[in-house]
Amino acid sequence: MNYRLLWRKGLNAVMLSLTGVCTLLTVSVLFFILGYLLWNGGRAINWDFFTKLPRPVGETGGGMANAIVGSAKLLLFAALTGVPLGFMGGVYLAEFGGKTFSFLVRYTTDLLNGVPSIVMGIFAYTMIVLPMKHFSTLAGGLALGVMMIPIAVRSTEEFLRTVPVSLREGALALGASKWKAIVTVVIPAALRGILTGIILDLARVAGETAPLLFTAFNNRFWSPGWNQPTASLPVMIYTYAVAPYEDWHRQAWAAGLVLLALVLLTNITARVVLARKLSSATG
């Protein structure tokens, strides 16, 4: 009897410690990533990185100024596409939706969310690159924009729903029509949450590489306007990392650090803001 109990207690201790080990392993990955990038990337970052264009293949030096600007432009296009569609779609679902159509919209939004990013790239390719017969910032931006839609919709809808009915009633009781109540009271009340969700969405899309591989493609030079192929941070990281040149590896680390820093900082700030908002929701 005693023997069995000892075994059970031992097993208990072992298994529970194992779960702790699992957690430790998982959590340490983040620190490993951060550490490695800080070390390698930190050494590689210099003023040139932010200001110079890439040098021709094989030559050392240069930077990724065009990629940084390119990523910014791509995000702008993505936001212009994804945010209005996502926001309005969310408003529709939260405020106006009819039963069957809402279900359809939610279902397709979920579907869209599950589309692999490379397939999104194919979509943008067939829709824009093929007819235009060349790569462009527009195509890349659109691919990223469509990827943004599902999360923008969900974010908007969820935060609009958190606005208490009492606020809506208050506005209506003062003679505001439904849409006025929505625009002047409901949306402003939910705005901080919605914006945070959208910013998180942008951060996620900023790190996407696959959809850009054959839409925005890449570019050794500046890409003026919207209809030229453009360099972007993620694509540069990829291109440089798999190439055989030491100096390119060095720059890939630098780019990786910049990208990761942006993504992580945005995520941390956004989540903290969200947490604070939720706790003061009744305020």
Partner: protein
């Protein structure tokens, strides 16, 4: 919107028309229409996406038919395209990834849900969620310069020595290959399994645990034999979701898989996944048939992820309902 039955001098229809017109003047109907338009656009885009995938793979579909899924050859020169090596590679890497990620993830979830004090649990969960935000290409970057050398110099020789009797651990050792891809996938999908499983476990009613403990079970026994089975559907759902992510994962896998469309039994061998071949060869595709074949691969991937995601949502929904039914 509510309907108001109006009995004013026996002219209800007139009242309804007037009500509609006043709503129109107030802008409510306009607002409804505008948002409806945007929502319909989303619907349209999705339909368009499926349609375009279908349409732009026509050449390959008509030439190869269903055989496409079972052909091993991938020969751009002779225009013979088969999906099997990529389906194989996708499944194998995802399987390896899951095999490693599920125990690790569920284990961590158990720790966070059952053992860790709430503050620490939240903090650690936050960190793990940040991992989910790290871009794929950065995982790939790290994998190339840390994981691959490690595999090539230490891990794979070790495995060969100890488990070399298994076909999985035989053959030449390059570092890159199916095992590398599987490992990096595991790292990438663990956060998803942890977050969802943790939430699902925390949603199990306290009474379940208490009942087990009151009967003399140890913490581990109550967790493993009562709580986890109760949350089984949700955990499985998280696994399916992770699987769906793993299937579509492109960059990190492309960077370490070795890019060789062969089917072998060795995990050390280079392989290829659907996402990886599309990423690598799309811009190099010389003929229309080539591109259509790649797009057909994209269609296959799309369908696979849809099915998995659908199953995942059903499972997670099932746990939620179960929780409220018992609460």
């Amino acid at each position: 919107m509510a309907s108001t039955s109006i009995e004013v001098g026996g002219a209800p229809r007139l009242g309804r028309v007037r009500a509609f017109l006043s709503r129109l003047r107030n802008g409510d109907e306009v607002a409804h229409l505008i948002t409806l338009l945007f929502a319909s656009t989303i619907l349209l885009i999705t339909i368009l996406l499926v349609f375009e995938l279908y349409r732009n793979s026509a050449l390959a579909r008509s030439k190869f038919g269903w055989q496409f899924l079972f052909t091993r050859t991938w020969d751009p020169v002779f225009e013979q395209f088969g999906a099997l090596p990529f389906i194989f590679g996708t499944i194998v890497t995802s399987a390896v990834g899951l095999l490693l990620a599920v125990p690790l993830g569920v284990g961590a979830a158990i720790f966070l849900a059952e053992l860790a004090p709430p503050r620490i649990s939240d903090a650690l969960a936050f960190i793990i969620e940040l991992l989910a935000a790290v871009p794929s290409v950065i995982y790939g970057l790290l994998a190339i310069f840390t994981l691959v050398p490690l595999l090539r110099t230490v891990v794979q020789p070790f495995l060969k020595k100890t488990l070399g009797f298994l076909p999985f651990f035989q053959g030449p050792n390059y570092g890159v290959g199916l095992l590398a891809a599987g490992l990096i996938l595991a790292v990438m999908i663990v956060p998803f399994i942890v977050s969802i499983s943790r939430e699902v476990l925390m949603a199990v009613p306290v009474e379940q645990r208490e009942a087990a403990l009151a009967l003399g079970a140890t913490r581990w026994e109550s967790t493993w034999k009562v709580v986890v089975p109760y949350a089984r559907a949700g955990i499985l759902g998280s696994v399916f979701l992770a699987m769906a992510r793993a299937l579509g994962e492109t960059m990190a896998v492309t960077m370490v898989i070795g890019n060789d469309p062969k089917i072998t039994s060795s995990l050390f061998a280079p392989g290829y996944t659907i996402a990886a071949v599309i990423a690598n060869e799309f811009t190099e595709a010389t003929s229309d048939l080539y591109i259509h074949a790649l797009i057909e691969l994209g269609l296959v991937l799309f369908i696979l992820t849809i099915i998995l995601n659908g199953l995942a949502r059903l499972l997670i929904l099932a746990t939620q309902r179960k929780g409220t039914a018992h609460a």
